[in-house]
Structures are given as structure tokens and as C-alpha cells.
Amino acid sequence: MEETADASGGPHPLARIPRLLSLPVPRDPRLTLVALSFIACCLLEPRPSRADTLAEIRARGRLIYGGDMEGGGPYVYPDPNDPREVAGFEVELMDALGRELGVKAEFSQGPWDRLLEVLRAGRIDLVINGYEWTEARARDFLATRPYYTYQLQLMARRDGPIGSWHDLGASKPGGGSWRVGVLNSSAADTFADESGGPHVEVVRFDGGTDAMRAVENGQIDATLQDLPTVLFYRGRYPTLKLAGPPVGKGDYVIYVRRGDEPLRDALDRGLGRLIDSGELRWIYERHGLWNDAQRALSDGTGAKSQASRMPRPEGLELLWRYRSRLLAAAWVTIVLSVTSMPLAMALGLLIALGRMYGPRPLRRLLAAYVELLRGTPLMLQLFVLFYLLKLPVWVAGIGGLAINYSAYEAEIYRAGLQAIPAGQMEAALALGMSRQLALRRVIVPQAVRIVIPPVTNDFIALFKDTSVCSVITLVELTKQYSILGNSTGGWLEFALATSLLYLAMSLPLSWFSRWSERRWEASGAKGGAPA
């Protein structure tokens, strides 16, 4: 009932957290933020799941399973016959499992590499989305018996030099390493990372089809993916071939939260019945996925039997082990921001000057430029630069950020320029200056002072927007957080470390901003006290 009291007015509930914990509220609002994010992280800490998820599912009559339908064929994807619905072999499997449990199975969309976090947060009952059994995952979650045995398939260009996975063991003709695209945090990711050898560079994508397109574009040499995905999408990429026989092998399992043993056992029993009755085989045959490797499913053991209980490193030990990866990713973030922001500022100034003092057609053109770039998402712009214009990844990343932010900087400069009194331009012109000279010597230097705070603000925003570059395979800090969280299960540790790294990088920016503002002030005071 306290909630209703809150809703009727009073401070935002979040604002009360520090007080409730009787924490001193720091003066810098960002320190408050750190405190809050720390608290949030603590709340994310795995907690015992509610009394009995299975009973809850039965009571509500619905079983909610998480998956990602983006590039999700043949697992789960928008039904071509009814795009409001989802189709796929996992959808049919879940429908069958739902019947076994006497409830209706319902799909819930989530980003593939974050599905376990969604599960942990309690928003879904289970994850089924081509998630293979891994030791790290089995430590933090409960896995069912395997429902499918996957193999990994290499895809390369038909006209390319790669004939099989074996070819990647030799060095690349002409130097450099083979760039092999994988789905971030997938089995192929682990396999390529561990078995790729010294000549393989792993490039991580958010979607399997993005990687296939990148092979077609020549941005990477090959892609290693789960066989079902390859079989499903190969028709769309006629310039690609299946390079050699499948490699690697593993089991897809369903994950539920720890403590949900009753649900896991019920799912296991349901799977057993579907396997024994041949219904599962029938589903796979309809999708062209049945092969001899699936015969082991009826053993019910699969890879799970190898389950080990080795404790995973935790806390500082975990962070120390992966420090080089975290720092390398932080470096990528820094390089992206400190190269793109100066470009954005220079470009923005030219645009603002063009919009204010240029000939009319140019003004219109630049106004359209600003509106186009402000009005479309950065992610989409990066997609266009990387996948459609096929620019090299760093050019696309830095260029995309610079172009996107130039539109915002242009508007800031325009406001700054307009804030300079008209008398300044008149005085300069009356002294015989040309318009250009007046801008350069009189107007712009004054406008720059006005725009320092908002531009710094944008710098900090850009700095965090670099995370969007993960869609074009740049592994910056946020992406690395997701990769490491996925592969080790140490979400909490990496969340904290990542936040602290971001903060450590953005605080100097704020200090620089305050310092430069003060410096302008100081230069103004040099002449002594007012008369």
C-alpha cells in the first residue's frame, strides 16, 4: 500500500534509496549514479527463485520461453505466413512441451546474447534458443537434457581460397590472419577462439546473417555457424559455399533458473516422452534437421553427463584474469571517441557556418543533412556505412559517430553563433574586416566559449554511444562486458568493472570541461578588478 502513497506525490522512489540506506548523497550527481548502479547490481545478484516456478506456470496456464527471432531461422523467426506469429523448430518443440505440461507455451523476444540475464531477472521462465551446454552456464543455471545435437559449419566465398576448416590452420596468403565471423558468445565463438590457432582472428557479430553478409562483402574471410542456421539461410547467400564437413559438436539444452528443479525435471520428462514417441524426430525431419547425430538424444545424457562442479573464479580474481580483455576494450572505446569527436566538432562548425552564412541552396542542403542525421538512429547509420557501403570497420565506426554527432554539434554551434550580439559583426565589418575574417577572429572565438559546456556534454554522450559500434563487430567496452559475462557468468563483477571504467574515462572529460571554462574566466580577469 505504500506504493500508492508514493504515486500520490513526493520524491521519485529512486531518489529515496540513498536516504533509506542512510548513505551520504555525494555532490557530484554521477557519484550518486555509481552508488545507485552498485545497488542495482546487488539487486541483480542471483537470488533464490520464487517458491516454485512450475506451480506458478501451471497456475497462470502459460509457459514463457525466451528467444531471439532476429536472424533466428530455423530456431525461431517471424512466421512468413503470419508475421504476427513465430515459427521454427524450437517453437514447435515448445508447443509440444507445453502440451506435455498442460499449459500454453508463449514466446518472448530478447537479445540473443542477453537471454540468460533476462531469465535471471525473472522475466521469462526458460531460455531455449540454440543455447549449447557449457560449463560456465551450467554453473549458474540448470540445464535440461539435450534436445538437439548441433555441429558447426564453415561458410566461405565460392571463389575464395578456403576449402575447409583445416585450411585456416595455415597462414593466410599475403599475410594477416583469417578473419572468421561468429555469433557472439555462441558455441562457434568458443570453438573458433579455442581451436582456431594462431592464424585465425575471431570477429563477433550480433546476428548470424550479419556475418554471412560480411563474408559476401569480403569484410571477413569465412563464418563458422551452427549447422541449422547455415542450412536455413544458405539459399540467401548464393556466393557462399559450405566449406568442408562440419566441425565441432555439442548439445542444445534448455536453461532454467537455479532452484527451479521441479520445472527442469518436468521439462526433462516431457522431452523424454517427445523423443520416445518420435514426435521430436518428426519435427526435425520436417525442418530438414534430422541426422544421425541426433540418435544420441535418446540416451538422455549427452554432454550434460560431463557436468563438472569446478568453482568458477569470482570477484577480483575473475576481473584480474580478464583484465587484458577489459582494458583492450576500454582502449577501443577511447580511440573511437577521441578520434570521432574532434571530427564531429570540426564538421559541425563548418555546417553551422554554412547554414548561417552560406548561399541559400547550401543552407537548405545542410538543414536537410542535420535533420536526416538527427532523425535516424545511429545504429542504422552504422549499418549503412558498414554493410551497404562496405567501408572498413574503423572507418565506418569513427566516420559514423563523427557524422552523426556533427549534426548535433552544428546545432549547438548555431545556437552559440546566434548568441553573439549583431553589434560584434557590425563593429568588425566597420573596421574593414571581411565577413570571413570577422567570423574567424571575432565571432567564432566568442561562440566557442559559449558552446564548451554543451559540447563537452555531447562528448560524454558520444563516449557512451560508442557501444553502438558493436553492431559492426567492434568489440568495445559494453560488448566485452557482454562477451565476458556470457562466457564466465560473472555478470555482476563485469558490470561493476565496466561501469567504473566508463566513469574513470568520462570524469576527466568533465574535469577538462570545468577547467577550460575556468581558464576562459581567468583570462578575462587578467586585467585586474573592475574600475
Binding site: 560584434q424 563593429a427 574593414g432 571575432v442 566568442q446 586585467g527 585586474g528
Partner: protein
């Protein structure tokens, strides 16, 4: 030195100048007085191209332009005019991001291409002349209004102009600061500088100007030596204006 012939200025349908004809000889100090909205400032701003006009011609120091002059040629002419004719504004318009000294050296260095040392020597001399030798490195916002206006005058003088246009130079100042600025202007007048001064400072017009032009409703109502204008004005409008000023 300055010849204006039948100048017409319109903002849309509003006619601000309705045919102003006026000439100023070299070394002459011309004061322009008149009620607010009579077009005095607009007239002055037409002379160095801060305003365009719709009719008539202007000749300054042999440079001639009018409505018929093509835009490109007009740009060149105006640039040359601004090199020879300075302007002092009511609101000073000093560059707030530069020191007093830099305000004065800015244009000589970047427009005339003067050597910085030379420009600084010139600026120090001029700032000394306007009584600000001790505030060379102050920022404008730390100066009083009167001091700022004197810097503005030094800034214009540094360009060694043939004439200076003063646009109500003391209207933003209190009486004591007004006196400081007018003293500097009187000093310039004694040196034989050509000046056109739009002003409400009647005493200055009377004591320093050679000629007084009375503006009213976009026209020159009456011109003449100050003694005649102030003692025996021919026009009723002039008399009215003077009595209003004296009452105020």
C-alpha cells in the same frame, strides 16, 4: 569629403529616409540632431554599408556608389570605404574576448597587415591619448562605459581613418562618463578629423560642431552653423526639438 544625394531607405512600406541630401567637407565636424525615429542612425549606417538603401547615391573620399551599382562592385567599394571611414557605436561593441590592447591592434594587424610590434606601438600611443595607458591588459567588461567608449575610439583611430562616424556615442553613458568621451572627441575635432556625430549632446553640438543638421521624419529639416541653429532656428520643428531637449 562626404556627399550624399537624395538618399531613400525603406523597410518594406515604411519609409525611414525620404531623400536626404547632405555634404561634409574635409576637416568638418557635422552634428546630426533630431528626435528618436527621425532616421539619424539609419542615415549614418548607410554611409558605411551596414544598411542598404533604395534610392540615391553616396560619395566618400572619391568612392561613389548608389542603387544602380552592381552587388559585386558595391561589395568592393564598401570594403574600401570601411577601410577609410571608422564608426563608433552607441553600445561600444568592443570585442569582449580580447584585452583593451588587443581590441586596438586587431584590425591594424589583420586588415592592414601591420607588423604586431608596430601595431602595438600605435595602440599604446592612441590609448595613452584617450587616457587609458594604465588599462592596456584589462578585459572590456572590467571597464566603465566611458572607458570602453574611449577604447572604441582608439580602436577606430588605429585604422587611421579619413573620417569617423559617431552613432550616439554618449547615449549609454552617465554625465560624468559622457564628459570624458566628449573631451576626447573635441580633441579629435581640434586635430582636424572629419566627423559626423549623431548625438543628443546639445552642448557638444553647439561647442564643437561646425555644422548642425536637424533631422525630422526622414528628412533634413534645417542645416546651419550651431549659432544659427541654436539661437535663431528657422524652422518650427527645430524650435520644438530644442525646447524639448532643454526641458529634459
Amino acid at each position: 569629403m562626404i556627399e550624399v544625394n537624395d538618399l531613400v531607405k525603406r523597410y518594406g512600406t515604411l519609409e525611414v529616409l525620404r531623400g536626404v541630401t547632405l555634404s561634409v567637407d574635409p576637416g568638418e565636424v557635422a552634428a546630426i540632431i533630431g528626435p528618436s525615429g527621425s532616421g539619424k542612425s539609419t542615415f549614418l549606417r548607410c554611409l558605411n554599408g551596414l544598411e542598404t538603401f533604395q534610392g540615391g547615391t553616396v560619395t566618400i573620399d572619391g568612392l561613389h556608389w548608389g542603387v544602380e551599382t552592381p552587388a559585386s562592385a558595391r561589395g568592393r567599394i564598401l570594403h574600401a570605404v570601411r577601410g577609410r571611414v571608422g564608426m563608433v557605436f552607441q553600445s561600444f561593441n568592443l570585442f569582449p574576448h580580447r584585452t583593451v590592447l588587443q581590441n586596438v591592434t586587431e584590425a591594424p594587424i589583420h586588415v592592414l597587415g601591420l607588423d604586431p610590434d608596430q601595431a602595438e606601438a600605435r595602440a599604446r600611443r592612441l590609448l595613452d591619448r584617450v587616457g587609458l595607458a594604465d588599462r592596456l591588459h584589462a578585459m572590456p567588461r572590467h571597464l566603465s562605459g566611458g572607458q570602453q567608449q574611449r577604447v572604441a575610439i582608439a580602436r577606430v583611430l588605429a585604422m587611421e581613418p579619413r573620417a569617423i562616424l559617431f552613432d550616439e556615442p554618449t547615449s549609454a553613458l552617465d554625465p560624468r562618463m559622457t564628459a570624458e568621451v566628449l573631451a576626447v572627441m573635441a580633441d579629435l575635432a581640434r586635430d582636424g578629423l572629419t566627423m559626423i556625430v549623431v548625438t543628443h549632446a546639445m552642448r557638444f553640438a553647439r561647442q564643437v560642431a561646425h555644422t548642425v543638421h536637424v533631422f525630422g521624419d526622414g528628412r533634413v529639416i534645417e542645416s546651419g552653423p550651431p549659432a544659427q541653429i541654436f539661437e535663431e532656428p528657422h524652422e518650427e520643428a527645430t524650435r520644438l526639438l530644442l525646447s524639448e531637449v532643454q526641458a529634459a
